[in-house]
Subunit: 266 residues, 2 copies
């Protein structure tokens, strides 16, 4: 059985019009599916309205106890339940989840570690209540998916000792895809601001349609894949090594178009 | 198979110590179980911090679009996921739900209606995004419960057209209990500030241990059951007529004590 895991970032799910358009397209994807979402912009806005200035280090949120309450509310409550309600309106029997629900995503709190800053220096950073994933418990999830339920996963994990943990949504999508790969033939779709991986960064029409594992090192050597795209593709190939059939990097506008974006395969 | 549905109000789940104590006791209840919770005090506090003054009419919240966002965040996100994480820490495989999740609770927006005010006058009130329940879809829920999953239900419903609706938690508990009564032998427990239904309002030791349907009219005639307790018991007997085995009215501190509180039976 085919299963498509789609990861979509905050900018799309937090704007009412782009969310509607995304969910229309998500509804068009045939077969079983899972949606993993972000919600960072709303979290930042609401945190600041509540008088909690937000600190980002190397692109990641420092999550103190008060900020954890905000991201829990916004990701697992506001954003997640609005997506679920709108999918139900499209006849999709969705189920919103955090990692604590059915113990789907078990994590541990990230210890302080050296992080490379934008200026190239490294710095010891304690991100607070941020999780690194240990395990995805896929059995009950796979049962529900096989019954036609569409999980909608928010980027909140837990440590199995009662503490929720803010968790990167890209990582959740990859780990969920891998964990479900033993039960389904999984395609993992990352929504991206560009139309795919571009051969020429300045030319939006230069999408590379297919990158195989053999082609990948050459693209890195040529400098075609660099910067933030490099860890993204490394993670994608890691998921493929762990059983995911295919990873697609595409725009949110094209998630239901089987010919759009860049496909990664063995 | 026995199933216990416990409804607990906001005051208990919003205080860290009383929540811990409640969950310890909830964990002790044998057999299958469901927890339905409130969260109104946190919602009011956070709404006011966000600059949204809250309006209560006859004890119920007027829910405009901005307030709907807040109750969705607080009930289905903050309160729900913290309960779920803490139950997981106690080895209980819980699953947090709003009514939109798996279309568990389908509602319609309550039309403006005449409401009896505290001063005895009636007034036409539009409660905004508030739901009256049409239907509980119990099949997938019953499957999960039979597999050992413990649903934790937040008081947010949906209209199946994409709109979430603020919904009374007592009503949710009663409707969930009734819907599951065809699959389980259901006991419905309402947590109450007193030790049970009291024969003498001034004497906390005067708990009436059992009220049968035959005894109920006499207690009303004697004035023992009056005020806010009257609709509570009417709803309880209505649930019993619809298949719920037993309703218990007790304190949160005693939900795991089979001899505490007041039992209602046919």
């Amino acid at each position: 059985m085919n299963l498509t895991v789609v990861k979509v970032g905050g900018a799309i799910v937090e704007d009412a019009d782009s969310l509607r358009s995304l969910l229309d397209k998500f509804a068009n994807i045939p077969g079983h599916k899972v949606l993993v979402h972000g919600g960072g912009r709303s979290a930042t806005r609401i945190a600041e309205q509540l008088g909690l200035p937000q600190q980002m280090v190397a692109g990641r949120r420092v999550t103190d106890a008060q900020t954890l309450r905000v991201v829990t509310m916004v990701y697992a409550g506001l954003v997640n339940k609005n997506i679920v309600a709108q999918l139900q309106a499209r006849g999709i029997n969705s189920l919103g989840l955090s990692g604590a629900d059915m113990n789907v995503i078990q994590s541990h709190r990230r210890p302080p570690k050296n992080v490379r800053m934008d200026d190239g220096d490294t710095q010891l950073v304690d991100y607070g209540f941020v999780g690194d994933i240990d395990h995805v418990n896929a059995d009950l999830l796979a049962d529900l998916i096989a019954k036609g339920v569409v999980p909608v996963v928010s980027p909140i994990g837990h440590d199995a000792h009662g503490t929720l943990l803010n968790t990167n949504a890209d990582t959740i999508a990859a780990e969920v895809a891998k964990a479900l790969a033993s039960a389904f033939d999984v395609t993992l779709v990352f929504c991206f601001e560009k139309r795919g991986v571009l051969r020429d960064a300045g030319d939006d029409d230069s999408v590379i349609p297919l990158i195989t594992q053999d082609l990948f090192p050459a693209l890195v050597a040529e400098g075609v894949v660099s910067g933030g795209m490099l860890p993204k593709l490394e993670n994608a190939f890691s998921a493929i090594h762990d059983g995911v059939h295919e990873v697609i990097i595409t725009q949110a506008e094209a998630i239901d178009n089987p010919n759009a974006g860049t496909r990664l395969r063995l």
